[in-house]
């Protein structure tokens, strides 16, 4: 299983994502933003950081970079895409996952360890997560308040596209509606989340819960036949 990690100018978690993907047993390669070539990656990760400085609006400028056309095609063909933090913002700006990430309700950058409930375990991103387990990992962002208009939010919930929610005791760090920390696209193949699973890939660093997400993907496609169920 090959994992490609997109490097935008200003990405700063690309090396973390490459490192974690290797720990999960994948072959991991960087993908340069100017080259619309995914190098045969089965999973494309849009990493955290401040792509293009996050100037104008977080994620918006990255959406126009050449590699995003390839990512779009990959997703349209049923390929797997994982957007983490800034990568989630890019996916949302590109319309590849629903919603928008507003400034944190506190108006501050928030670096905290949070706990995530996993709403579904039948997705390529969560199938290795044990039933009932809460995942501990850090958030680090200034604009992570998940927003959708009410009616769209109801549809999102009804279609099973909410994948992760912030859970007690740490709770919701940014004011996200419905405590939403991560969502799927309608096809269940593209996932965006604000917390950083790639920084929670080793017990030495405080948690290896995040590795479960990457291992889910690596294991679900290890035999070359992605086993995926579409959202409800």
């Amino acid at each position: 299983m090959r994992v490609g990690v997109v490097v935008f100018p200003g990405s700063n978690c690309d090396r973390d994502a490459l490192h974690a993907a290797r720990l999960a047993g994948a072959e991991a390669v960087p993908l340069w933003h100017e080259t619309p070539d995914l190098r045969g990656a089965g999973l494309v990760i849009l990493p955290g950081g401040f792509a293009y400085g996050d100037y104008l609006r977080a994620g918006v400028l990255a959406r126009f970079s050449p590699i995003m056309a390839a990512v779009r095609d990959h997703a349209a063909r049923g390929g797997l895409v994982l957007g983490i933090c800034n990568g989630f913002q890019v996916l949302a700006e590109a319309g590849l996952v629903p919603g928008a990430l507003l400034r944190n309700a506190s108006l501050r950058f928030e670096h905290r360890w949070v706990r995530l409930s996993v709403e579904r375990r039948d997705t390529p991103f969560t199938r290795a997560v044990p039933e009932g387990m809460l995942l501990r990992m850090p958030v680090a962002h200034g604009e992570g308040c998940y927003y959708l208009p009410d009616a769209d939010l109801d549809r999102l919930e009804a279609s099973g596209q909410v994948l992760f929610r912030y859970a007690a005791p740490e709770g919701n760090p940014n004011g996200s509606l419905h405590d939403i920390a991560g969502v799927l696209d309608a096809g269940g193949r593209v996932c965006g989340l604000m917390p950083h699973p790639e920084r929670a890939a080793e017990a030495l660093l405080g948690s290896d819960d995040g590795l479960l997400l990457l291992r889910s993907v690596v294991e679900s496609t290890a035999d070359g036949i992605p086993r995926v169920s579409a959202p409800r």
Binding site: H111, P169, L205, G206
Partner: protein
């Protein structure tokens, strides 16, 4: 700014230009002597920034020469952009502390942000990838609206830059003291990791090589900013001391880091220098002088952001995020390609010469970098005259008329501190200390800093060392920064020596071996003999402590003129220490581990409460009663704790620092989530043992079976050892025995204290609420559970 509003070097009628630029008549004569003629206006402007205190260290050089700089692990010492120490396996660590005090007072967000940017450039200029930031912040009364404005802006600025660049902020300290009210201190320490073979120096060797400027274009921002601002007392209503603020662009810096490291790793540069204070002038003169060469700069080739810039503006602009590379001509295409791929503009602005001069020309150079016939020479100054041969002062130092020193070790103690101990409730005092602005939780700050980017952060800590692992090895790095302003206020020598001892102790208690020291010396106007005396005493203190502990000083920074209309700051020697852990899995943390572990105090309290947080809370202690520091005993304690950590004896360890033993124990308990039942011998003044900050003490826990080994190590090193009790429960209970305990001394009617008994939840509540309450932020939600 339109061209017509642009600053010009035009002297007002009565004041000669050199004085307007801050150059004294005496210094002008010195400049004439070095040039053998009068300088022209451009040359004078270049001298004025290079001979500023900030760039020349003209007042502190004679003192800094006395510091020990040699050590077995030192790869690069003072004089380079950052110190570099070896950690084995072909790897090395670059680290340095630097101040951005005055810019932060003018514009806290940008001042702090560009401070982070500047120190990061010092690190990656050496060929090291920045892996950690620590901040040493000092402010005045937290209740004052101006302080709150500064704290909010500075913390946002440190975070805003570090978070975006992707370097974790893993530690530091935030201290409030009234003397910083008009002049906050923003000291930032950066740490980087490099392969030793990639060590790069800021030199311009090889006449004929090209000088390539890459990064942001040059604008008028920060003209004379850091250099002039940081070299004069900061007045509230002096617009002439407020040049345009430097604005940081962390996105540009991130690209600069990647481009620079790729250039270095591919061997494409002969030398690399970042542009900071005094801009291009500083970069070209320092690199040329270090290499014994000269540099010819083609003014017209320098990319600019604004039109109509005067030559002096281009030459001394402090626009951020710029680098100077020295490149062999045949590698130029590759350099341009690398910069282009990272979106970083690059331009050849000159070439290395063999004449020892910094020459500035206009009218162009040809393809080989040679001046064209019509070229006009605007400036020609010996590079050394701007740097290594710049003016040096041996300033007069004078003891303040009102001056106290700590008692010599063993000297008889004078009388009472007049501290309220009769009927004292130590639990209430402990809650008060934990709830005070200086000792409460720093979560309000640290939640604004990305501490985990980079996937190397093992521990990010507010009151202990931060720990990183080194990928691909079993090793770890422990980093800490400390100052002891409370004591430094009374005795700058002792304050500086204590800071070295405390900072290295904070690194040692993790089990790491300290490798070197960086420092940032924040003092007042060196032209005032009392302020210069404070500086000289502090340097003596740093030197004595480093020699006693076997630590080399590998670099640092001096920030003078830290005065405001409200007065001078207290002498503040900010110290940074980096140490190496051979096995990061075996690191020791302050957290109590498990019930039944034995709590042990290593070292013993000596009288002296002056300068302590307890004294600040209780009123004030007379200043004769400063804690003494016995450097030989400190060295013995440090050797012992390192041996104990390596032997795997320690379950936890915490330095006894601000707030004394009781606060250290409370931290171990709160962070570990488990209490302790203890018993402490106290003298006639229980506050000394409970809350005194006398140095050379560490509180550790061991498994019961390991106590004999710990005792043997203590005996071997001659360290007093006192088992206090055991870990367990959800309260911190300290029964007092001896002269000052209520039970023993009730009948005597003086100087007695009751037992300390506090629920951890109550301690945690006081600790968590301290800083948000002090800063008037009632919306902050502290993170649960974490230390």
């Amino acid at each position: 700014m339109s061209a017509s509003e642009a600053p010009r070097v035009i002297p007002a009628a009565a004041v000669p230009l050199h004085r307007q630029l801050g150059v004294t008549d005496f210094e002008l004569d010195e400049i004439r002597a070095r040039l053998g003629r009068d300088p022209n206006d451009l040359e004078l402007a270049m001298f004025s920034v290079m001979w500023s205190e900030h760039c020349s260290y003209k007042s502190s050089k004679v003192l800094l020469r006395t510091l020990p700089t040699a050590g077995p692990d030192v790869v690069a010492g003072p004089g380079e952009n950052a110190g570099v120490v070896s950690i084995g396996d072909g790897l090395a660590v670059a680290f340095k502390l630097e101040s951005h005090n005055h810019p932060s007072a003018v514009e806290p967000y940008q001042g702090a942000a560009t401070g982070v940017g500047g120190i990061l450039r010092d690190i990656f200029t050496m060929g090291a990838r920045p892996i950690a930031v620590l901040d040493g912040l000092k402010f005045g009364d937290p209740a004052a609206p101006r302080t709150r404005h500064l704290v909010r802006g500075v913390v946002r600025g440190v975070g805003g830059y570090g978070n975006c660049v992707g370097v974790p902020t893993i530690g530091g300290e935030l201290v409030f003291h009234p003397s910083y009210g008009g002049n906050p201190l923003v000291n930032v320490m950066a740490v980087g990791l490099l392969e030793e073979r990639h060590l790069t120096r800021a030199v311009a060797p090889g006449p004929g090589n090209l000088a390539v400027l890459f990064g942001s274009a040059t604008g008028r921002d920060g003209i004379g900013g850091a250099s002039v601002l940081a070299s004069a007392t900061f007045g509230e209503d002096d617009p002439s001391k407020r040049p345009s603020v430097q604005v940081g662009d962390p996105f540009a810096e991130k690209l600069l880091i990647e481009a620079s490291l790729e250039l270095i790793q591919r061997g494409l540069v002969e030398g690399l220098q970042d542009l900071g204070a005094a801009g291009i002038t500083c970069a070209v003169s320092e690199t040329a002088d270090r290499a014994g060469t000269g540099i010819l700069v083609d003014l017209d080739a320098i990319p600019r952001r604004e039109e109509g810039m005067a030559p002096f503006e281009v030459m001394i602009s402090e626009s951020q995020e710029r680098m100077l590379a020295i490149v062999r001509p045949q590698r130029l295409d590759e350099v341009v390609e690398v910069c282009g791929r990272w979106g970083v503009p690059a331009a050849v602005i000159g070439r290395v010469t063999d004449d020892g001069l910094v020459t500035v020309v206009t009218g162009g150079v040809d393809d080989r970098g040679m001046p064209r016939p019509a070229t006009e020479v605007l400036a020609a100054i010996p590079a050394a005259a701007l740097t290594s041969d710049a003016i040096v002062y041996d300033r007069p130092a004078q003891h303040p008329t009102h001056r106290r020193l700590a008692p010599a070790p063993g000297a008889p103690e004078s009388a009472s501190d007049h501290l309220p101990v009769r009927g004292m409730d130590p639990g209430a005092v402990l809650r008060g200390l934990l709830g005070s602005p200086n000792l409460g939780s720093r979560a309000w700050v640290t939640t604004q800093y990305d501490a985990t980017v980079g996937s190397d952060t093992v521990e990010a800590s507010e009151r202990a060392a931060g720990i990183l692992r080194i990928k691909g090895t079993s090793k770890g790095l422990a980093c800490a920064t400390d100052a002891v302003a409370g004591v430094g206020a009374f005795d700058p020598y002792l304050g500086a020596a204590l800071a070295v001892a405390e900072c290295s102790r904070n690194v040692l208690v993790t089990g790491a071996r300290p490798l070197g020291v960086t420092n940032c010396l924040n003092f007042g106007d060196p032209e005032k003999p009392e302020a210069f005396w404070q500086l000289s005493e502090a340097v003596r203190g740093v030197g004595d402590a480093c020699r006693a502990l076997g630590l080399p000083v590998t670099g640092g920074n001096v920030s003078l003129y830290n005065e405001s209309p409200d007065g001078r700051i207290v002498p503040t020697a900010q110290i940074g220490v980096v140490g190496v852990l051979d096995d990061v899995e075996r690191r020791v943390t302050p957290r109590f581990r498990q019930a039944g572990d034995i709590v042990v105090l290593l070292g013993e309290a000596v009288p002296g409460l002056a300068g302590s947080e307890y004294a600040a809370l209780a009123g004030s202690a007379v200043e004769e009663r400063l804690p003494s520091l016995d450097l030989a005993r400190e060295a013995a304690l440090q050797a012992m704790i390192l041996a104990a950590a390596r032997a795997g004896v320690l379950a936890s360890a915490q330095d006894v620092g601000g707030g004394g033993l009781a606060v250290a124990l409370a931290e171990c308990a709160m962070w570990g989530g488990v209490g302790a039942r203890l018993s402490l011998r106290v003298s006639a003044e229980p506050a000394v043992e409970l809350f005194g900050e006398s140095p050379s003490r560490i509180v550790v826990t061991v498994r019961p079976a390991d106590l004999p080994r710990l005792a043997a190590l203590a005996a071997e090193h001659g360290i007093p050892l006192e088992p206090l009790g055991e870990v367990g429960g959800d309260r911190l209970q300290i029964e007092l025995v001896g002269g000052g305990a209520a039970g023993a001394a009730e009948e005597r009617g003086a100087n007695v204290a009751d037992a300390l008994d506090c629920a951890l939840a109550a301690l945690r509540h006081a600790w968590e609420q301290a800083l948000p309450r002090a800063l008037g932020d009632d919306e902050f939600t502290p993170p649960p559970g974490d230390g």
